[in-house]
Protein backbone atom coordinates (compact mmCIF):
# COMPACT_ATOMS: atom_id res chain seq x y z
CA UNK A 1 0.00 0.00 0.00
CA UNK A 2 2.75 2.40 0.97
CA UNK A 3 4.79 1.36 -2.09
CA UNK A 4 1.82 2.04 -4.32
CA UNK A 5 1.36 5.54 -2.83
CA UNK A 6 5.03 6.33 -3.32
CA UNK A 7 4.73 5.26 -6.94
CA UNK A 8 1.68 7.52 -7.44
CA UNK A 9 3.49 10.46 -5.87
CA UNK A 10 6.59 9.82 -7.99
CA UNK A 11 4.52 9.77 -11.19
CA UNK A 12 2.71 12.94 -10.10
CA UNK A 13 6.00 14.78 -9.38
CA UNK A 14 7.39 13.65 -12.75
CA UNK A 15 4.27 14.92 -14.54
CA UNK A 16 4.51 18.29 -12.78
CA UNK A 17 8.21 18.57 -13.66
CA UNK A 18 7.56 17.79 -17.34
CA UNK A 19 4.79 20.42 -17.41
CA UNK A 20 7.06 23.06 -15.83
CA UNK A 21 9.99 22.26 -18.14
CA UNK A 22 7.87 22.31 -21.29
CA UNK A 23 6.29 25.62 -20.18
CA UNK A 24 9.67 27.30 -19.80
CA UNK A 25 10.87 25.72 -23.01
CA UNK A 26 7.90 27.18 -24.91
CA UNK A 27 8.53 30.62 -23.43
CA UNK A 28 12.17 30.36 -24.37
CA UNK A 29 11.24 29.55 -27.97
CA UNK A 30 8.84 32.48 -28.12
CA UNK A 31 11.45 34.97 -26.93
CA UNK A 32 14.05 33.56 -29.32
CA UNK A 33 11.94 34.61 -32.31
CA UNK A 34 12.59 38.20 -33.35
CA UNK A 35 9.54 40.45 -32.91
CA UNK A 36 7.68 41.46 -36.09
CA UNK A 37 8.39 44.87 -37.54
CA UNK A 38 11.54 46.94 -37.13
CA UNK A 39 13.64 49.29 -39.25
CA UNK A 40 13.74 49.08 -43.02
CA UNK A 41 14.55 51.24 -46.00
CA UNK A 42 12.87 51.26 -49.41
CA UNK A 43 12.98 53.28 -52.66
CA UNK A 44 10.08 55.72 -52.98
CA UNK A 45 8.22 57.27 -55.90
CA UNK A 46 9.48 60.69 -56.92
CA UNK A 47 8.03 63.52 -54.84
CA UNK A 48 7.01 61.20 -51.99
CA UNK A 49 9.45 62.69 -49.47
CA UNK A 50 9.76 66.28 -48.28
CA UNK A 51 13.26 66.48 -49.68
CA UNK A 52 12.89 65.85 -53.43
CA UNK A 53 16.52 64.78 -53.63
CA UNK A 54 15.85 61.86 -51.32
CA UNK A 55 14.77 58.70 -53.07
CA UNK A 56 14.97 56.22 -50.19
CA UNK A 57 12.63 56.06 -47.23
CA UNK A 58 14.39 55.03 -44.01
CA UNK A 59 12.19 54.21 -41.04
CA UNK A 60 14.93 55.34 -38.63
CA UNK A 61 14.48 58.90 -40.01
CA UNK A 62 10.85 58.86 -38.76
CA UNK A 63 11.34 58.59 -35.00
CA UNK A 64 9.15 61.67 -34.48
CA UNK A 65 6.23 60.17 -36.43
CA UNK A 66 3.71 57.40 -36.13
CA UNK A 67 3.99 55.44 -39.38
CA UNK A 68 0.79 53.91 -40.78
CA UNK A 69 1.92 51.21 -43.21
CA UNK A 70 -0.14 49.32 -45.81
CA UNK A 71 0.97 46.65 -48.30
CA UNK A 72 -1.05 46.34 -51.51
CA UNK A 73 -0.86 46.86 -55.27
CA UNK A 74 -1.98 49.77 -57.40
CA UNK A 75 -4.03 47.82 -59.97
CA UNK A 76 -6.13 46.44 -57.11
CA UNK A 77 -9.66 47.65 -57.97
CA UNK A 78 -11.49 47.21 -54.69
CA UNK A 79 -9.77 46.14 -51.45
CA UNK A 80 -6.61 48.33 -51.55
CA UNK A 81 -8.30 51.58 -52.60
CA UNK A 82 -11.02 50.97 -50.00
CA UNK A 83 -8.44 50.53 -47.23
CA UNK A 84 -6.28 53.44 -48.40
CA UNK A 85 -9.29 55.76 -48.74
CA UNK A 86 -10.41 54.91 -45.21
CA UNK A 87 -6.86 55.62 -43.97
CA UNK A 88 -6.73 58.96 -45.82
CA UNK A 89 -10.26 60.03 -44.89
CA UNK A 90 -9.69 59.11 -41.23
CA UNK A 91 -6.46 61.11 -41.01
CA UNK A 92 -8.01 64.15 -42.75
CA UNK A 93 -10.56 64.45 -39.92
CA UNK A 94 -7.85 64.74 -37.23
CA UNK A 95 -6.56 68.09 -35.92
CA UNK A 96 -3.60 69.46 -37.91
CA UNK A 97 -1.12 69.01 -35.04
CA UNK A 98 -2.02 65.29 -34.81
CA UNK A 99 -1.88 64.84 -38.61
CA UNK A 100 1.61 66.38 -38.59
CA UNK A 101 2.78 63.49 -36.37
CA UNK A 102 1.50 60.76 -38.70
CA UNK A 103 3.19 59.37 -41.79
CA UNK A 104 1.00 57.08 -43.92
CA UNK A 105 2.77 54.82 -46.39
CA UNK A 106 1.76 52.50 -49.24
CA UNK A 107 4.15 49.73 -50.33
CA UNK A 108 3.36 47.87 -53.55
CA UNK A 109 4.07 44.12 -53.48
CA UNK A 110 3.68 44.04 -57.28
CA UNK A 111 6.87 45.73 -58.58
CA UNK A 112 6.47 44.10 -61.99
CA UNK A 113 3.35 46.13 -62.75
CA UNK A 114 3.87 49.02 -60.33
CA UNK A 115 6.88 50.95 -61.53
CA UNK A 116 7.95 53.69 -59.14
CA UNK A 117 7.52 56.27 -61.91
CA UNK A 118 3.81 55.39 -62.14
CA UNK A 119 3.27 55.47 -58.37
CA UNK A 120 4.20 59.11 -57.68
CA UNK A 121 0.57 60.28 -57.68
CA UNK A 122 -0.97 57.08 -56.31
CA UNK A 123 -0.50 57.52 -52.55
CA UNK A 124 -1.08 61.27 -52.74
CA UNK A 125 -4.50 60.61 -54.26
CA UNK A 126 -5.60 59.08 -50.95
CA UNK A 127 -3.77 61.50 -48.63
CA UNK A 128 -1.55 64.45 -49.60
CA UNK A 129 1.57 63.21 -47.78
CA UNK A 130 1.11 59.46 -48.26
CA UNK A 131 4.39 57.90 -49.42
CA UNK A 132 4.33 55.35 -52.26
CA UNK A 133 7.15 52.82 -52.45
CA UNK A 134 8.21 49.51 -53.92
CA UNK A 135 11.37 47.47 -54.38
CA UNK A 136 12.74 44.33 -55.98
CA UNK A 137 10.73 41.17 -55.34
CA UNK A 138 13.51 39.85 -53.07
CA UNK A 139 13.45 42.96 -50.88
CA UNK A 140 9.66 43.11 -50.86
CA UNK A 141 9.53 39.49 -49.71
CA UNK A 142 11.98 40.26 -46.92
CA UNK A 143 9.97 43.25 -45.74
CA UNK A 144 6.62 41.46 -45.96
CA UNK A 145 8.02 38.61 -43.82
CA UNK A 146 9.56 41.11 -41.39
CA UNK A 147 6.14 42.65 -40.77
CA UNK A 148 4.15 39.41 -40.80
CA UNK A 149 2.18 40.34 -43.91
CA UNK A 150 1.43 37.90 -46.74
CA UNK A 151 0.96 38.06 -50.48
CA UNK A 152 1.09 35.68 -53.40
CA UNK A 153 0.93 36.53 -57.09
CA UNK A 154 -1.39 34.12 -58.89
CA UNK A 155 -1.35 33.67 -62.63
CA UNK A 156 -4.91 33.97 -63.92
CA UNK A 157 -4.85 32.31 -67.30
CA UNK A 158 -8.58 32.74 -67.84
CA UNK A 159 -8.60 36.44 -67.02
CA UNK A 160 -7.44 39.60 -68.80
CA UNK A 161 -5.94 40.84 -65.54
CA UNK A 162 -3.07 38.36 -66.02
CA UNK A 163 -2.02 38.23 -62.39
CA UNK A 164 -4.15 38.45 -59.31
CA UNK A 165 -2.40 39.38 -56.11
CA UNK A 166 -3.70 37.45 -53.11
CA UNK A 167 -2.84 39.59 -50.12
CA UNK A 168 -3.54 40.48 -46.52
CA UNK A 169 -5.23 43.85 -46.11
CA UNK A 170 -3.81 44.98 -42.80
CA UNK A 171 -2.64 48.31 -41.44
CA UNK A 172 0.65 48.19 -39.50
CA UNK A 173 1.07 50.88 -36.86
CA UNK A 174 4.66 51.82 -36.03
CA UNK A 175 5.20 54.07 -33.00
CA UNK A 176 7.69 56.92 -32.64
CA UNK A 177 10.34 54.51 -31.38
CA UNK A 178 10.14 52.55 -34.63
CA UNK A 179 8.36 49.65 -32.99
CA UNK A 180 5.41 47.96 -34.65
CA UNK A 181 2.85 48.23 -31.86
CA UNK A 182 -0.42 47.38 -33.53
CA UNK A 183 -2.02 45.79 -36.56
CA UNK A 184 -5.53 46.59 -37.76
CA UNK A 185 -7.42 44.15 -39.96
CA UNK A 186 -9.22 45.38 -43.08
CA UNK A 187 -12.69 45.24 -41.55
CA UNK A 188 -11.62 47.19 -38.45
CA UNK A 189 -9.76 50.12 -40.07
CA UNK A 190 -12.84 52.34 -40.08
CA UNK A 191 -13.46 51.82 -36.36
CA UNK A 192 -9.98 51.42 -34.88
CA UNK A 193 -7.50 53.54 -36.82
CA UNK A 194 -8.46 56.92 -35.38
CA UNK A 195 -8.25 55.92 -31.70
CA UNK A 196 -5.04 53.94 -32.29
CA UNK A 197 -3.12 56.81 -33.89
CA UNK A 198 -4.50 59.37 -31.44
CA UNK A 199 -3.30 57.27 -28.47
CA UNK A 200 0.22 57.18 -29.97
CA UNK A 201 0.43 60.88 -30.79
CA UNK A 202 -0.83 62.14 -27.43
CA UNK A 203 1.50 63.77 -24.92
CA UNK A 204 3.20 65.95 -27.46
Amino acid sequence: MLKKNILYIAVLILAILITIISYFDKNKQATDEPPLGGDFSIPVAQGSLNDPKKEIFKLQDYRDKVVVLYFGYASCPDICPTALAIIGNTLKKLPAQIQAQIQPMFISVDPERDKLSALSEYGKYFYPTMISATDSTANINKLVTQYGAFYRINKQNDSAMGDSVYHTSTVYIIDKKGKMVNTINHADIQNDLESTVISLTKGQ
Binding site: A74, S75, C76, P77, D78, I79, P81, T82, A85, G88, N89, K92, K93, A118, L119, S120, E121, Y122, Y125, F126, F150, R152, N154, Q156, D158, S159, A160, M161, S164, V165, Y166, H167, T168, S169, T170, N185, H186
Partner: protein, 149 residues
Protein backbone atom coordinates in the same frame (compact mmCIF):
# COMPACT_ATOMS: atom_id res chain seq x y z
CA UNK B 1 -58.54 72.91 -81.08
CA UNK B 2 -58.77 69.16 -81.39
CA UNK B 3 -55.91 69.14 -83.81
CA UNK B 4 -53.75 71.24 -81.53
CA UNK B 5 -54.59 68.93 -78.64
CA UNK B 6 -53.69 65.93 -80.75
CA UNK B 7 -50.45 67.47 -81.98
CA UNK B 8 -49.18 68.82 -78.67
CA UNK B 9 -50.46 66.32 -76.18
CA UNK B 10 -51.68 62.99 -77.50
CA UNK B 11 -48.83 62.43 -79.89
CA UNK B 12 -45.96 63.25 -77.44
CA UNK B 13 -47.60 61.24 -74.67
CA UNK B 14 -48.10 58.34 -77.01
CA UNK B 15 -44.46 58.47 -78.12
CA UNK B 16 -43.33 58.78 -74.48
CA UNK B 17 -45.40 55.75 -73.45
CA UNK B 18 -44.02 53.80 -76.37
CA UNK B 19 -40.48 54.70 -75.31
CA UNK B 20 -41.04 53.75 -71.66
CA UNK B 21 -42.65 50.45 -72.62
CA UNK B 22 -39.94 49.53 -75.07
CA UNK B 23 -37.27 50.34 -72.45
CA UNK B 24 -39.02 48.13 -69.92
CA UNK B 25 -39.35 45.35 -72.44
CA UNK B 26 -35.63 45.55 -73.21
CA UNK B 27 -34.55 45.85 -69.60
CA UNK B 28 -34.21 42.18 -68.77
CA UNK B 29 -32.17 43.17 -65.78
CA UNK B 30 -32.89 46.29 -63.77
CA UNK B 31 -30.00 48.08 -62.15
CA UNK B 32 -30.17 49.95 -58.87
CA UNK B 33 -27.58 51.97 -56.94
CA UNK B 34 -24.97 51.46 -59.65
CA UNK B 35 -21.69 53.37 -59.72
CA UNK B 36 -18.10 53.10 -60.89
CA UNK B 37 -15.14 53.99 -58.74
CA UNK B 38 -13.07 57.00 -59.63
CA UNK B 39 -9.60 55.83 -60.67
CA UNK B 40 -6.42 56.86 -58.84
CA UNK B 41 -4.03 58.72 -61.17
CA UNK B 42 -1.77 56.50 -63.25
CA UNK B 43 -4.05 53.45 -63.08
CA UNK B 44 -6.02 51.70 -65.82
CA UNK B 45 -8.54 49.67 -63.85
CA UNK B 46 -11.76 50.37 -62.01
CA UNK B 47 -14.67 48.50 -60.52
CA UNK B 48 -18.41 48.86 -61.01
CA UNK B 49 -20.86 48.06 -58.24
CA UNK B 50 -24.66 47.74 -58.46
CA UNK B 51 -27.70 45.75 -57.56
CA UNK B 52 -29.01 43.57 -60.38
CA UNK B 53 -32.59 42.28 -60.48
CA UNK B 54 -33.82 39.73 -62.99
CA UNK B 55 -37.19 40.87 -64.38
CA UNK B 56 -37.67 37.94 -66.73
CA UNK B 57 -39.20 34.57 -66.03
CA UNK B 58 -35.97 32.76 -66.93
CA UNK B 59 -32.61 32.60 -65.14
CA UNK B 60 -30.21 35.21 -66.53
CA UNK B 61 -26.54 34.33 -66.71
CA UNK B 62 -24.21 37.32 -66.60
CA UNK B 63 -20.80 36.53 -68.09
CA UNK B 64 -19.06 39.93 -68.24
CA UNK B 65 -19.19 43.11 -70.21
CA UNK B 66 -18.12 44.99 -73.32
CA UNK B 67 -16.84 48.47 -74.10
CA UNK B 68 -14.58 49.88 -76.77
CA UNK B 69 -12.99 52.10 -74.15
CA UNK B 70 -11.62 49.14 -72.18
CA UNK B 71 -9.42 46.15 -72.99
CA UNK B 72 -11.72 43.81 -71.05
CA UNK B 73 -14.66 43.79 -68.67
CA UNK B 74 -14.97 40.81 -66.33
CA UNK B 75 -16.98 39.67 -63.38
CA UNK B 76 -14.77 39.25 -60.32
CA UNK B 77 -15.27 37.79 -56.88
CA UNK B 78 -13.39 38.10 -53.61
CA UNK B 79 -12.80 35.32 -51.18
CA UNK B 80 -11.59 36.23 -47.73
CA UNK B 81 -9.57 33.20 -46.58
CA UNK B 82 -7.76 33.39 -43.21
CA UNK B 83 -7.25 37.12 -43.57
CA UNK B 84 -6.04 36.83 -47.17
CA UNK B 85 -8.01 38.61 -49.90
CA UNK B 86 -8.26 36.41 -52.97
CA UNK B 87 -9.68 38.00 -56.10
CA UNK B 88 -10.49 35.84 -59.10
CA UNK B 89 -12.57 35.88 -62.25
CA UNK B 90 -16.10 34.58 -62.02
CA UNK B 91 -17.10 33.03 -65.35
CA UNK B 92 -20.81 33.39 -64.80
CA UNK B 93 -23.27 34.77 -62.33
CA UNK B 94 -26.70 33.17 -62.43
CA UNK B 95 -29.55 35.46 -61.43
CA UNK B 96 -32.82 33.58 -60.92
CA UNK B 97 -36.17 35.10 -61.96
CA UNK B 98 -37.12 38.01 -59.68
CA UNK B 99 -33.89 37.50 -57.73
CA UNK B 100 -31.61 40.44 -56.83
CA UNK B 101 -27.85 40.13 -56.58
CA UNK B 102 -25.68 42.84 -55.06
CA UNK B 103 -22.25 43.60 -56.48
CA UNK B 104 -20.59 45.47 -53.63
CA UNK B 105 -17.13 46.32 -52.25
CA UNK B 106 -15.40 43.31 -50.73
CA UNK B 107 -17.64 40.87 -52.63
CA UNK B 108 -18.52 40.79 -56.32
CA UNK B 109 -17.66 43.54 -58.79
CA UNK B 110 -17.49 44.17 -62.49
CA UNK B 111 -13.87 44.96 -63.24
CA UNK B 112 -13.07 47.39 -66.03
CA UNK B 113 -9.54 46.84 -67.33
CA UNK B 114 -7.26 48.72 -69.69
CA UNK B 115 -9.40 51.86 -69.56
CA UNK B 116 -8.31 54.30 -72.24
CA UNK B 117 -9.28 57.30 -70.14
CA UNK B 118 -9.18 58.05 -66.42
CA UNK B 119 -12.68 58.00 -64.96
CA UNK B 120 -13.24 60.89 -62.59
CA UNK B 121 -16.15 61.75 -60.30
CA UNK B 122 -18.97 63.81 -61.73
CA UNK B 123 -18.75 62.03 -65.07
CA UNK B 124 -20.47 58.86 -66.21
CA UNK B 125 -19.40 55.81 -68.16
CA UNK B 126 -21.40 53.51 -70.44
CA UNK B 127 -20.74 49.87 -71.15
CA UNK B 128 -22.68 46.74 -71.98
CA UNK B 129 -23.46 43.80 -69.77
CA UNK B 130 -23.03 40.51 -71.58
CA UNK B 131 -25.21 37.47 -70.95
CA UNK B 132 -24.68 33.79 -71.75
CA UNK B 133 -27.52 33.79 -74.30
CA UNK B 134 -25.68 36.49 -76.28
CA UNK B 135 -27.91 39.35 -75.18
CA UNK B 136 -26.33 42.68 -74.33
CA UNK B 137 -27.68 45.39 -72.07
CA UNK B 138 -26.29 48.91 -72.11
CA UNK B 139 -25.96 50.78 -68.86
CA UNK B 140 -24.60 54.19 -67.91
CA UNK B 141 -23.25 54.59 -64.41
CA UNK B 142 -22.04 57.64 -62.50
CA UNK B 143 -18.41 57.77 -61.39
CA UNK B 144 -18.02 58.24 -57.63
CA UNK B 145 -14.98 58.93 -55.51
CA UNK B 146 -14.06 57.27 -52.21
CA UNK B 147 -11.98 60.24 -51.24
CA UNK B 148 -13.21 62.91 -48.81
CA UNK B 149 -11.82 66.38 -49.45
Amino acid sequence: MTNIFKKHFVKPVFILLLMINSTLALAQISIKDGYIREMPPGQKVSAAFMQLTNNTSDPMILTGGLSELTSAIELHQHKHVNGVMQMSKLNELVIQPSESVALKPGGLHIMLMGLKQRLVKGTSFSFQLQFADGKLQTLTLPVKSLINP
